[in-house]
Symmetry: C2
Subunit: 510 residues, 2 copies
Amino acid sequence: MGENYERLRVLAGRVFDLASALDLLSWDMQTYMPPGGADGRSHAMATLASLAHEHFVRDDFGEALTAAESEVQGLDPNSDEVGIVARLRRDFDKSRRVPTDWVEHSVRTTGLAFSAWVEARKASSFADFQPHLEKVLDVKRSYVSFFEPYDSPYDPLLDDYEPGLKLATVREIFAELREVQIPLVQAISEKSDTVDDSFLHAAYDEQAQIDFGLEVIRDLGYDFNRGRQDKAPHPFSQSLNRGDVRITNRVYPNQFGPALFGSTHEAGHAIYSQGIAPALDRIPTLSGSTLEGAHDASLGIHESQSRMLENLVGRSRAFWTAYYPRLQAAFPSQLGGVDVEAFYRGINKVERSLIRVDADEATYNLHILIRFEIEADLIEGNLAVADLPEAWNAKFEEFLGLTPPDDRRGVLQDIHWSDGYFGYFPTYTLGNLISLQLWQKLSQDLPDLETQISRGEFGELIGWLNEKIHRHGGKYEPMDLLNRATGEELSAEPYLGYLTDKYSEIYGLS
Amino acid sequence: MGENYERLRVLAGRVFDLASALDLLSWDMQTYMPPGGADGRSHAMATLASLAHEHFVRDDFGEALTAAESEVQGLDPNSDEVGIVARLRRDFDKSRRVPTDWVEHSVRTTGLAFSAWVEARKASSFADFQPHLEKVLDVKRSYVSFFEPYDSPYDPLLDDYEPGLKLATVREIFAELREVQIPLVQAISEKSDTVDDSFLHAAYDEQAQIDFGLEVIRDLGYDFNRGRQDKAPHPFSQSLNRGDVRITNRVYPNQFGPALFGSTHEAGHAIYSQGIAPALDRIPTLSGSTLEGAHDASLGIHESQSRMLENLVGRSRAFWTAYYPRLQAAFPSQLGGVDVEAFYRGINKVERSLIRVDADEATYNLHILIRFEIEADLIEGNLAVADLPEAWNAKFEEFLGLTPPDDRRGVLQDIHWSDGYFGYFPTYTLGNLISLQLWQKLSQDLPDLETQISRGEFGELIGWLNEKIHRHGGKYEPMDLLNRATGEELSAEPYLGYLTDKYSEIYGLS
């Protein structure tokens, strides 16, 4: 490539290095940092975030970008170079609208709100969190104001996680989900005694659970030479660069399931990040108003990869045809008397519950729909922060027929709003929908897919995903990438068909 | 304080945050980073090092510094504020002489040299490392040229680790050591069968070794709320800020000693870093041409703290009066039949050996003297890199009566030169000397010290060190700090007296 493009790569590499260092600070904060390090860490993270922004929006970056744009004109529009320049242009133009002062102020405000949320959740007292959430919303509102005009003030926030997507589109698709999933879950709940999962709630040796999960994700294709798994209170995946993509997990000594499905879920994210083309590494990417090291199309695309390995692979009959004998061998006293069909039904048991992160496949989207409607109302000014617990509980009753007994198990359960992640929640559900659209195409292209999975062979599956999704990193907008991979627009239909078929069969619904 | 001082603190805090993030990248590289992360890490570290330098030498930093200097005039000259401003002035003036391009070039050159050293050491082939070491020396020579005029080109390098100290002073003191230590070690070697340490070379459960070490360093005063110990190939201490000071260690399953003494050594460093006054936190400090988060007087002062806990405390009769019963209880089959006196003699056995990091108290300085003489010759142009192995082996014969059988166990054993750490080696020996000067004063101020140690009580010892050394961080130059604490100038006499007395008694020398 020409020298202008190379110059842009050098400047982008410097911003990437800052963003990637910030990613390590964040990973360390959630894994190994001693409690006394919290104060110093919040300073360091605010400094790195604002320096990354400062270096990204500098005039010389803009000049290098413009020069590189001229240089790549005429190249194959699908080349990595054209894709990188286009993505940097998009993120640069967005970031230029945001003053560096705002970035620093935002990191500090959410840092304080996060600490307040931790304490408020412990005390189960929304009132303690309310003034902080109001400040976070003020910060988000000033952010939104940098992007006027818009159809909805929610749009610029959503666009940070899901480039190009609008609130109106999400509303339309989520209405379809609601239409089908509420009655489906209602029908299942009437036959709740059809499925037994009591054998999953027993003593399962922690190390044996970890070892089994590591074996599975190694087979799936997670490269431990370029990654590692550590313990953390919440499972997450963190890409520092394509040579260092880490995951975390937690293990419950008295329950089988969360650790394994946590591993397969995070491995789905990590295999995506490990699989971007080498030429796309060291490109900073805007995600949620912050520059990050990980380069990807969107959170929805990311979640489609994790959900696919967790659910479409990991909770399928084909997968357990291969792995159940090994699992029985690892836990003979707990599973020796449980056949594979009973196990399959057990890990797919549906239960309406209070906590999103514990939700099963059939109810998960309903948890998201609740949060999405509430946060859209907050951002659009139709709901006051003070009225949030009441609105939360009302929606919960409407969608899941339950009323949280306290704020801890209700409106205070998620970290997202304290961190300023408004517009993030819908991407979980988009990931579910996209996973099925990809799966349909995959099944056409690889008619042998199910047989392969039932033999524990994932090479062609991951190869297809790499070719169609992973290697392209963030060079296409997510809906464009989906269309290139499947020939389709975003649609809820495949997912709803899958869900209805799977659970009608398990629960014997007509 | 006034607003100029506060402005300086804000700017210094930003540089500190970059330096501290760099420290975390370095810690992670040596503990948890997967192999695939090496390339990305070297980029990130070069970027952070050069940005820290860039932000430190900016004109606005210089202006803030000058303004703060006016503001603190008239304050108590021993106040933290005056000390911080003076230290920042010193480091700023040094850093301003160094172009940021040099910093980036230096980090990249040593990064490549480090990788080459790792491979050359594996292959035991100095020839593979030679061209890289020549490049590193070129980089150091250009660094030295920024500080002309000087008495010796070694002086600016030494000054980076031991502010204010000159080659001539070190030469003079090291000559005294040589005069005493070579014949002492010779005399000991003639009575080598006087001491038996075979019981230390047996199977010692790894976890039990770790647990015993953790108990000891907790008792010594290492605060685990603001620190942690992880495994790493080489023990080291890393301060990110005073709330997060970590140590690492390694354990040999067939030898008792290295793990425990590694823990007490690193705890000595870490207790120093945890003990700086809160007002001195978030001040970047120049160490070896690089800005670091840790704020301290010098490497020699640092090493005095680690050597004191490792040797003057950890290898003393008084210490084992308190801890030997516990150790015997932890390892009854290995130590049940060994009395405390035999154990004391065993852990103090002297042996001339090839490897510095395995050297005992009596021979350690000789390993340093060899390296010091060689590196001074290299920097002063009296020795060519190509002649290094020959010079090394000749010195080894002269000082320790041994000839290394290969480069791996000879000139290639240490990381320092590959990393550009010229001027660093003497600080190990300075630490030994200073530890004894402090110990003499301590023993005067706390006549009960030995009795306290024999009861496992370290509160007054650490309290004295905190008052005289730790809390002052880097606000005094090391020789000034030593003088304030002891009323003495740097001297080899106390250390040589200690060494001669201790080993004459153990080995029955006349």
